[in-house]
Symmetry: C2
Subunit: 415 residues, 2 copies
């Protein structure tokens, strides 16, 4: 076993013990510990800012891009935001102990499926130091132990935040191993986490596409993530022009860099406002890359790869379609099972779209940019998942739990 | 790509198309198709028995064991049982389309999490030909396409059952690719299925431990299974003697070869009936392998490996413990997260056991042999899962579904 493997095995064993304690902590204790952790982060403001300044200086010396430095940068407001985020998690409904289903068998056995924590959650992230607190708090509030592996460029910031967080959690009654930070930041630690089947129950990667792709390719542990958000908005023949214009412009341009942004626009060929919508989108600052019918209207012609591209920029691919079968075929071929929306006044067409589109989130007459745990009322999110099993779409506390069967009898035997 | 890889890729692509159709079939259509399939199996009785006779002759010539030949053997009663099993699945509640949760956001968005099929289920099994129909029916009733890979020794039987099943399903309105049987039975087909990430969404192995171990070790696709059922019964100091005796003897000896059988008995050292219980279990025909305290009473001394052994035989390892902390430590160290039970008249101790034991099924005052989808009221089971994610314990239709988020708006935009 490699050094990193031994390290993760040791951390995993300690996490498992902590998870056993966390699983049975009452909600009030978990919430109090998180509030104490938030206070500790606030109180550690000077140390956190000092550590962050050192990370920033090293990052600048190492030639980090402006965007990366911005993700890394903390100031008083951001640190207060981190603490407030932890407080917000403390206020969320605790799913643990809730009943998924109950039944009474004819032989008198009482069955219940009860929500329990998953166990040990591994979180692998890049330059944003706030994930240290956000993800640790979410995992712990759902009764899980967390093993955090942050990016090397944020190592000092992460250590400072983690030290404050854990001091607060322990003061509030949680075990010291509830949230552990991997003390090395080389790639071997990530590899060891991805292979830690039986030690880590779920990996959540938080970062760019190359991180997520590596995690999905190498992991022996289940992964909760999305690789792409190649999201479609379909403007049906029965769409209202004003609504379509507002939704399409918001879905594409409100923020172009988020995973819920629209990347491809599909419009019914028979809709009377095709040209007006394209013009409105282009006038709002979006580059259009169209199929033959759209490029015939004067827009750039899309290449084959465009339909499979998550631009994360003010660019949209656009195709005209003949109806729902075309739409489904296009999304099946090119979508990433993240978020797809229809704009239409026709309820039957809408319901057919909602039923047939095979994505984690399907929407009718709403912007794809609502794809977010906060907007969905979850209070937070640890990520958005496009896999088919366990949790899909925005994932917060409930997605960090599973269930067990609890059977209560009076001496029943089967024979 | 290997020949097997190409074959599975082609079958997976056809299964995905079939899954798209199955996902939106109404319950009545699915149920009618399953009933037609059951009738078709009944009607194909002569062909199925002829195929099975050929498998049996080849198996005998190839030196299959008596136990394997018994698993392979079909007769009129067994074939009728297969058809009746398919009819029973047709009568189960359909989880697809059910609401997991609903909410209304302050901005008027209406959110629902709706149960949908998982997609494409791969089932890998050994000599029991009934799995062809059982697993295919369960997958299809939950709206999934199935790719079945049975054992080579049952190839003719499986083909005959599959042909009848599919003829009935198609007559009843399902796509022909709803349930596909892999036409080759070499190990390469299994390997290709295990690597078919993105083509197959979930693998269910049905067979012995070596099959499950291989599947768990090699799969890139999520696996729903249990490797071991190292199940514990803890007889607490507050247990009633008669109840403990009945439960322990049933849990161990009703059927020793099932995954829900007790393998290890833990007894509170201070319970006044330790010797009487051990004698009763031994008198019922069970070999006991004990810790120091138990072997001092005249029983065989357990070796270290005994505590980690699934005997599947009339053998039990037995240890005396000092209370719940001991019990939890023992189960954490040696259990397989399948089914563990406590016998006690003390509700507080029972609830602490139910909360702290980290297994898919935990029981109070009931035999571990109830660990079964039918006994749990699920009407059937495709398997029992000891993983931590998605479905745990006995899995039937609901465990073969997932959910998607459905968002209904009135033109809401986020910006």
């Amino acid at each position: 076993m490699t050094d990193a493997g031994r390290l993760i095995a040791d951390m995993g064993a300690r996490a498992r013990i902590a998870a056993g304690v966390l699983a049975t902590l009452p909600t009030v204790t978990k919430a109090a510990a998180l509030r104490a952790a938030a206070d500790a982060v606030d109180a550690a403001m000077p140390a956190i800012l000092e550590a962050n300044a050192a990370d920033m200086a090293a990052g600048a010396a190492n030639g980090l891009s402006g965007a990366m430095l911005d993700r890394l940068r903390l100031d008083e407001g951001r640190v207060r935001g981190i603490a407030d985020g932890v407080r917000a998690v403390a206020g969320l409904d605790d799913p643990v102990g809730g009943s998924v289903s109950e039944s009474l068998r004819p032989n008198g056995l009482r069955l219940a499926r009860v929500r329990v924590p998953i166990g040990v959650i591994g979180i692998i992230y890049e330059s944003r130091p706030n994930v240290t607190a956000d993800a640790g708090a979410l995992a712990a509030m759902a009764g899980n132990a967390a093993i955090l592996r942050g990016g090397s460029e944020a190592a000092r910031s992460n250590r400072a935040i983690h030290a404050a967080l854990v001091a607060g959690l322990v003061a509030g009654g949680m075990p010291a191993d509830a949230v552990q930070l991997v003390p090395i930041t080389d790639r071997a630690a990530v590899g060891a986490m991805l292979q830690a089947d039986g030690l880590i129950d779920l990996i959540v990667p938080r970062g760019g596409k190359s991180l997520v792709a590596r995690v999905q390719a190498e992991a022996r542990v289940p992964v909760l993530a999305h690789l792409d958000g190649i999201n479609h908005v379909y403007v049906d023949a029965a769409a209202d022009f004003d609504m379509a214009r507002r939704i399409v412009i918001d879905a594409k341009l409100r923020r172009t860099g988020v995973c819920g942004a629209m990347e491809t626009l599909l419009i019914h060929r028979g809709w009377p406002h095709v040209e007006a919508l394209l013009r409105a989108l282009a006038d709002a600052g979006c580059e259009l890359r169209g199929d033959a019918a759209v490029s015939a209207l004067g827009y750039t012609a899309a290449q084959a790869a465009d339909w499979d591209t998550e631009y994360l920029d003010a660019i949209a691919s656009v195709a005209l379609v003949d109806g729902l079968d075309d739409v489904i075929a296009h999304i099946d071929a090119h979508g990433s099972h993240h978020t797809d929306a229809i704009v239409t006044g026709d309820a039957a067409t809408a319901e057919a779209f909602l039923a047939r589109v095979d994505s984690a989130i399907v929407m009718w007459n709403a912007s794809t940019q609502f794809a977010d745990g906060g907007e969905f009322g979850l209070g937070a999110e640890i990520g958005i998942a496009t896999g088919r099993l366990h949790a899909r779409g925005p994932v917060a506390l409930e997605g960090l739990t599973t269930y067990k069967w609890v059977v209560r009898g009076a001496g029943q035997v089967r024979g």
